[in-house]
């Protein structure tokens, strides 16, 4: 019996290796059946653990208060600047008759589980095919990019986080506009790779998705450049990875594919140029 089981396990492993997409679909289907049954237990336990976490932070409540007051002062001046810029921006957009991409709406999901393994960084969320989720969509928390949908079940889907070993995202670093790849390596801060010359990059520069290759929509904030102790450039992520609770899944079809298919089907190329114009405008900004 032991021998037979081991042979079966070996066969399953080979199947997983050879026909990976099918095996992962089977796994997603299985997780989809099992995990939602434990939602009643998972959610309270998660809440309770977070409460303990919060309670620990009461210990330094005074310092935190001082810190927040200072930050509030700083942000008030920023808010004033932002309001003025917003008005200016709105009037400029109006003058230029810019159409914003209407496809960028989002669905919000709750995080159910993490990957369950110290060497994988992913999260399971409670929205799936039923809600129209498609493989490859970008997910964000309120502020920054969190990851990419890989594996969609009927009621759940898996988000591979930017910190995972397999995560590779094309990015633009502003203000220099350099292109690079942000690749996860199982640490809190992904590495910036394939940068042509890093003399124009300063720690604190902001990292956005570039939209190259149609992986993600352009100009989503990922984080800030930081120089690690080993001298490599890394990204300090903008999303709050310590508490991922609600995730936004951007319902975005890559702009380039729309432009191509439109040009092929409809003879008038008007919508395609419109979209690519909006795209490059967002890239420059």
């Amino acid at each position: 019996m032991v021998g037979v089981t081991l042979v079966v396990l070996l066969a399953v492993f080979l199947l997983w290796r050879i026909d990976n997409p099918r095996a992962e679909r089977l796994r997603a289907a299985f997780i989809d059946r099992v995990v939602p049954n434990f939602e009643w237990a998972l959610l309270p336990v998660t809440r309770a653990t977070r409460m303990i976490d919060d309670f620990q932070s009461y210990a330094r409540i005074y310092e935190q208060n001082q810190e927040l007051r200072r930050e509030l002062q700083r942000l008030k001046s920023w808010r004033e600047a932002a309001l003025q810029l917003e008005q200016e921006n709105a009037s400029l957009l109006d003058l230029n008759k810019v159409r914003l991409d209407p496809k960028l709406t989002f669905i919000t999901g709750v995080v159910l589980t993490d990957s369950g393994s110290p060497f994988r960084q992913s999260a399971l969320i409670n929205v799936g095919r039923r809600d129209g989720i498609i493989d490859g969509w970008a997910t964000m928390d309120g502020l920054g990019l969190v990851g990419r949908i890989t594996g969609v079940g009927e009621n759940t889907s898996r988000v591979v986080l930017l910190t995972d070993d397999n995560s590779r995202i094309p990015v633009t670093i502003q203000p220099s506009g350099r292109r690079a790849i942000m690749s996860g390596d199982n640490t809190a801060a992904p590495i910036i790779q394939f940068l042509e010359d890093d003399d124009k990059i300063r720690p604190g520069d902001r990292v956005f998705t570039s939209g190259d290759g149609g992986v993600f929509p352009p100009a989503l904030l990922a984080g800030q450049v930081a120089r690690a102790s080993d001298g490599r450039l890394r990204v300090r992520l903008a999303a709050d990875y310590r508490r991922l609770e609600f995730l936004r899944i951007l319902r975005a079809t890559p702009v380039e594919t729309i432009a191509e298919s439109d040009a092929g089907v409809i003879s008038g190329a008007q919508p395609a140029t419109d979209l690519s114009g909006a795209d490059s405008g967002a890239d420059d900004g």
């Binding site: 492993f13 110290p118 397999n166 310590r242």
Partner: protein, 182 residues
């Protein structure tokens, strides 16, 4: 084997339930979404430590099919390569099972050293097979850290087995009562 319904059989089933309950709790706990910030010290592999310590004490509490079911479930729910780690763990536990009688009389440090060796070989086998199959493997340093953390926690797991869920080494008297070979 003791017959069905006898106190000894009941004892075995209670032991199995204790092992299974703890394993299920560990799998559940590993899924609670709390550790999205990687880096730092990884969590120890308590499921493996619990299984090895149970097999080295009471092999009948962790029979082959139960270990198989638990590890396959854990493999599937976490994003690991399907079935590989399950297979390696099963080979390890079957080997430990043959060694159980030897460790009845020995003091704990021997068992600890033995656990360390088997766990290391298991991780090594996993890495080699994944490399041969051209699957990207985790960083070696991170995996070694995880290995050391698990080895250090092993005595605590054994203590937990001994004191809380009463999975203890078989004494000669018990062995006779349960119909084991001495």
């Amino acid at each position: 084997m003791p017959t069905m319904g006898s106190p000894a059989a009941l004892h075995i089933w209670i032991g199995r339930a204790a092992y299974f309950g703890c394993a299920a709790l560990l799998i559940f706990a590993s899924l609670v979404p709390m550790r999205f910030n990687p880096g730092g010290v990884p969590a120890p592999d308590l499921l493996l430590a619990l299984t090895f310590s149970t097999v080295l004490r009471r092999p009948d509490f962790a029979p082959f099919w139960l270990v198989f079911a638990i590890f396959l479930l854990a493999d599937t729910l976490s994003g690991q390569p399907l079935a590989l780690w399950t297979g390696i763990v099963l080979i390890s536990t079957e080997f430990l099972r043959t060694q159980e009688r030897r460790f009845r009389e020995l003091i704990f440090p021997f068992e600890w050293a033995f656990f360390t060796a088997v766990f290391f070989l298991a991780i090594l086998a996993n890495r080699i097979i994944l490399t041969v199959a051209l699957v990207p493997v985790a960083d070696f340093g991170a995996q070694m850290l995880y290995f050391f953390v698990t080895v250090i926690t092993y005595p605590l797991v054994v203590l937990f087995c001994y004191a809380i869920i009463h999975i203890r080494k078989i004494t000669p008297g018990e062995a006779v009562r349960l119909g084991h070979r001495l």
